[in-house]
């Protein structure tokens, strides 16, 4: 075709091979350590040099803080930032935002660039912390007393010397701390005679059978963007071996997902699919469509988190309620996915002291805490001694708050399965769930395949 002379072709190939080999012999790509001094291989993030003189004072000089947020969740920040600027006029804010999916894909790139924001919405801190992109917040934690706050959810953003999560240095804070559970349509529950709160999994199944018999969709939830990881884990949370699941999520050495509880939970989810609890074409329904349908009155139950509570209160006040996912028995401790809506400070941030001050303010200032609750429906976290903010009477936010308190009391907070690694949800957990609930994958294969992907991604 285009290679009109064989000699040219041969020369070309020889040339390319030579270049390729030369480059292959060259130094490997990537730096061994970016801006900070963290050592590369053993992932000891604690080796980073602390910023000189961490200050808990807010400078009087005008400063513009750069925030990178998740689109669709910027309202709470608009209110927070307005309040902060009202209290501290020298501080202004610049906001950039993108969808959760794009954020998950791009956050690392954005933070390692010289243009890094001061604060970034970022759900999976582990790898980034290891690579030194995230600021170690220990000094600020010391200075502000963050280590004295309830640690149940904060532990999820701590990383120890082995690079595993669960304890160690603090790398993020939450603006709002989420809890997950079961939303229900009040009117339908009453019509069907379902007792709220549902106390056991068996009761929940009975309730769903009743709904099905009455022609209702028991569960209004879609799996196009892998939201069935929620009910999967909600079931698994109630089974034996929770600590092993936690170890797996935290990337502890030797952790595995190929557990009896994984197989059991997957089997139960598949069973629910077979019974018809899920909407038809469940894999075609995405998250936004599902919550939209639920809000307009379709379906009886919806598995999600307190971040929806604000919207539900606004769009359909008084129509929906919330309770934590039931255990095997009525007196089982309340275990639920409960995580900070994680925000990190990149190492390349330009205004570290100011942003730390802002973060502390979000957790401790009464007005800020109220805003966080009202807009996100989540607990604002912070010191246990502070009065919790209150939601308007009859709002479902009160129920999510109560559930969060229960989970905290029972020490039942666990991170999401999807947060185990940066890619596990989109690469394997999600697609395999789509196969599982349409009967195309056995629960055993499901658990094994996820573990395999986990090991490949972590290079184990």
């Amino acid at each position: 075709m285009r290679i009109t002379t064989r000699r040219s072709a041969a020369m070309l190939m020889a040339g390319t091979a030579a270049v390729a080999l030369t480059l292959a012999a060259c130094s490997p790509p990537g730096s061994s350590s970016p801006s900070t001094s963290s050592s590369s291989s053993s992932s000891a993030p604690a080796g980073e040099e602390p910023a000189p003189g961490v200050s808990t004072e807010l400078s009087a000089d005008p400063v513009e803080l750069d925030l990178y947020l998740e689109s669709g969740f910027t309202d709470q920040f608009d209110a927070l930032l307005a309040e902060f600027t009202a209290q501290h006029p020298q501080v202004t804010f610049k906001i950039r935002s993108d969808s959760f999916q794009n954020l998950a894909q791009n956050a690392v790139r954005i933070m390692s660039s010289p243009d890094a924001p001061d604060l970034m919405r970022f759900p999976t801190v582990q790898a980034a912390a290891k690579d030194g992109i995230l600021l170690n917040l220990d000094e600020y934690a010391e200075a502000y007393g963050w280590n004295d706050w309830p640690q149940g959810t904060l532990n999820q953003v701590r990383i120890d010397e082995t690079g595993a999560r669960g304890s160690g240095s603090l790398y993020a804070l939450g603006v709002g701390y989420n809890v997950t559970g079961v939303y229900y349509n009040k009117a339908k529950a009453e019509e069907l005679g379902i007792e709220i709160p549902v106390e056991t999994i068996a009761d929940l199944e009975a309730a769903m059978d009743t709904a099905l018999a009455a022609g209702e969709t028991p569960i209004m939830l879609g799996n196009a963007d892998f939201t069935y990881a929620f009910p999967l884990q909600m079931i698994q949370n109630q089974l034996e071996g929770l600590d092993q699941v936690k170890d797996w999520i935290y990337q502890k050495d030797g952790a595995t997902y190929d557990l009896p509880s994984s197989v059991e939970a997957a089997a139960k989810l598949q069973q629910w699919a077979e019974k018809g609890y899920f909407p038809a074409d469940v894999n075609a329904i995405d998250y936004a469509t599902a919550i939209g349908s639920f809000t307009s009155g379709e379906g009886v139950f919806h598995f999600s988190g307190d971040w929806e509570a604000g919207g539900l209160t606004m769009n359909a006040p008084g129509e929906f309620g919330f309770f934590p996912f039931p255990g095997l028995t009525a007196d089982a401790p309340k275990v639920a996915m409960a995580a900070p809506a994680t925000y990190v400070v990149p190492t390349n941030a330009k205004n570290k002291d100011a942003i730390a001050y802002f973060l502390n303010w979000v957790h401790t200032d009464a007005k800020a805490r109220q805003i966080v609750l009202e807009y996100t429906g989540s607990t604002p976290g912070g010191p246990a001694e502070l009065d919790p903010p209150v939601a308007p009477e009859g709002s479902v936010i009160n129920e999510t708050l109560a559930a969060a308190a229960q989970v905290a009391d029972d020490d039942g907070a666990i991170d999401f399965l999807g947060n185990a690694t940066a890619g596990i949800l989109t690469s394997t957990l999600g697609p395999d769930l789509q196969l599982l609930i349409t009967g195309r994958m056995t629960p055993e294969d499901f658990a094994a395949h996820i573990q395999q992907a986990y090991e490949t991604e972590l290079g184990r």
């Binding site: 285009r2 969808s99 794009n102 790139r109 660039s113 243009d115 995405d286 936004a288």
Partner: protein, 277 residues
């Protein structure tokens, strides 16, 4: 197929088949138009003739999609890519064909191979190249790789043109004492106008519709190409079919308009190559 011989029923069969193909082609556009004209926020089922066409949706979509910003951004990128690409490609083809540089054939073959390299195969190293140069999230990071990636075709195209120019013209220019530059500028470029115009149109179209490079190099959707921003638009308004359709149609309108205006150019462009053979 000889129409004189075909029976009337064969003719009609032919017309029907062609009609079906055309309808198939137009189906998505009709679908989007129908959805865009439904009442705002509704959930249209299939293609419906709107009883009360909600033309206002286009205005909403225009505002929400920030179309003027998007189009400006795309235009800036086109201005960054097209002139540079044109100059480089024309100069190279001129050197190879008209001036007959030694080993020009080799250079040409090297460039040609680039025609078959999928962009996705290069996107990762290109990304890191831009990152190390500190150019990520600037338009340069989108424009420069595009210039390079479009070169193979550009050189190819201009080479084909120059090959079609009779040697006598070049020789005449030489005899008149024109150096290389004058020869190019005063003699060849005017002759190359049709080929250059086609190249401009094609380069512009490709840049406008470029997706993956814009997606990877630029985080801010408003500074990408129109196609790149369309992806973000879908992410944000995915569940609002009405708004999404209106926005998508608006975003596609410029390219469709250009095509309608330049269709002769497009057709001639593609046909030129085969006629030359």
């Amino acid at each position: 197929m000889n129409t004189a011989r075909s029976s009337r029923s064969e003719l009609w069969l032919g017309r029907i088949v062609l009609l079906m193909l055309v309808l198939f082609t137009l189906l998505p556009f009709v679908g989007m138009l129908s959805a865009a004209l439904q009442p705002a926020g509704s959930n249209p089922t299939g293609i419906q003739v709107p009883t009360n066409p909600a033309w206002g949706n286009f205005i909403t979509a225009f505002e929400m999609s920030k179309l003027p910003t998007l189009m400006t951004s795309s235009l800036i990128l086109v201005l960054m890519v097209v002139p540079a690409g044109l100059v480089l490609a024309t100069a190279a083809a001129y050197g190879i064909v008209v001036l007959r540089v030694p080993f020009g054939g080799v250079a040409f073959v090297v460039l040609l191979l680039g025609l078959t390299i999928p962009f996705e195969s290069l996107i990762v190293p290109l990304y890191h190249l831009m990152k190390d140069a500190g150019l990520l999230n600037t338009r340069l990071a989108i424009a420069m790789p595009l210039v390079a990636l479009y070169l193979p075709f550009g050189v190819f195209w201009m080479r084909a043109h120059f090959q079609g120019v009779p040697k006598e013209i070049t020789e005449a220019a030489e005899m008149d004492g024109a150096g290389w530059w004058r020869g190019l500028w005063h003699v060849h470029i005017p002759l190359a106008r049709p080929a250059l115009t086609t190249l401009i149109v094609l380069y512009s179209l490709w840049t406008w519709n470029q997706f993956i490079i814009a997606l990877v190099m630029m985080d801010e959707p408003l500074m990408r190409t129109v196609a790149g921003a369309l992806g973000a638009f879908q992410g944000q308004y995915g569940t609002d079919i009405v708004l999404l359709s209106a926005g998508a149609l608006l975003i596609m309108l410029p390219t469709i308009t250009v095509f309608a205006v330049f269709q002769k150019q497009f057709v001639v462009a593609l046909l030129q190559g085969s006629v030359k053979g």
